[in-house]
Amino acid sequence: MRFQAIRNVHPSVVSLYDETEAKDKDGNIVILDQAKVDAETARLETEQANAVAQKAADKQSAHDKLSALGLSDAEIIALTGGA
């Protein structure tokens, strides 16, 4: 997540040593804007958490709709591969 955040803030970065030393493709050290990297890391983490929550909500919604159509839990599992 942090590496992706670094890449989003500093697109020239291709490597990160010891979580601190960032370099471009030519091996030049890239000075990181830590405040921007931290903010982007937080944004990506929130985005990921939201995606996980949305997936769970979609799954529950799909289950409820199938159940309302009269399918049993066993039938829903057989159909979808999950509860």
């Binding site: 997540m1 942090r2 590496f3 992706q4 890449r7 291709v14 490597s15 990160l16 040593y17 010891d18 979580e19 030393e21 370099k23 493709k25 091996g27």
Partner: protein, 192 residues
């Protein structure tokens, strides 16, 4: 203390065994002297890398920290090169590793398979389609014949699609669910 100057010491009579010293004794080869012992390891250099490294790029690039230098004592010596890695990757979970030899400004690939169309050649690699990103162990050994007494650098290089993480998981959350690891490279000079 006495000093014996001879060219050859051989077992006596029909014996084929020559013994130097006795149990508890120390037999010393002075620093700077060369022990000629074909097939024996006469020098070992190793680098344990316990920090993390991350890379993205589809061209081979050096893995910072996973390299070493060794200077053979003879041009006839072999160098047994070995490296181990623990890594993980995102994207399509595709990565390739290789070790190269650097003498002066000349870089040479070592121990790669034969060219096979547009396939990427590596010594260690992975290519998956799953949605999980397991931590993967890789290991490679190669017997090199560098034919030099110049300093040699052996370094591991990586190519990947997505991001490749060494000595850590893709998710590096600070919790007991995740780990940190150690990778290493070792070179042993074997007398010829």
């Amino acid at each position: 203390m006495s000093k014996l100057n001879v060219d050859t010491i051989e077992p006596e009579g029909a014996s084929t065994t020559l013994t130097l010293g006795a149990s508890g004794d120390t037999v010393t080869i002075p620093s700077g002297a060369t022990l000629s012992a074909p097939g024996h390891v006469i020098q070992v250099v190793s680098t344990n890398m316990n920090t993390t490294f991350t890379y993205t790029g589809t061209t081979y690039s050096d893995v910072t920290g996973l390299s070493l230098s060794i200077t053979p004592s003879s041009t006839s010596s072999k160098i047994l090169v070995h490296y181990d890695t623990v890594s993980a990757t995102t994207g399509s979970y595709k990565y390739f590793l290789k070790v190269v030899r650097l003498i002066g400004a000349t870089t040479t690939d070592l121990g790669l398979p034969a060219t096979a169309g547009s396939r990427i050649l590596g010594q260690i690699g992975a290519h998956g389609w799953n949605t999980v990103a397991p931590d993967m162990v890789g290991s490679f050994t190669f017997l090199d014949s560098p034919s030099t007494t110049s300093a040699i650098t052996y370094k591991v290089q990586v190519s990947t699609e997505g991001a490749w993480y060494l000595n850590r998981s893709v998710d590096d959350t600070d919790s007991a669910d995740f780990g940190r690891y150690v990778s290493n490279i070792t070179a042993m000079e074997v007398a010829a």
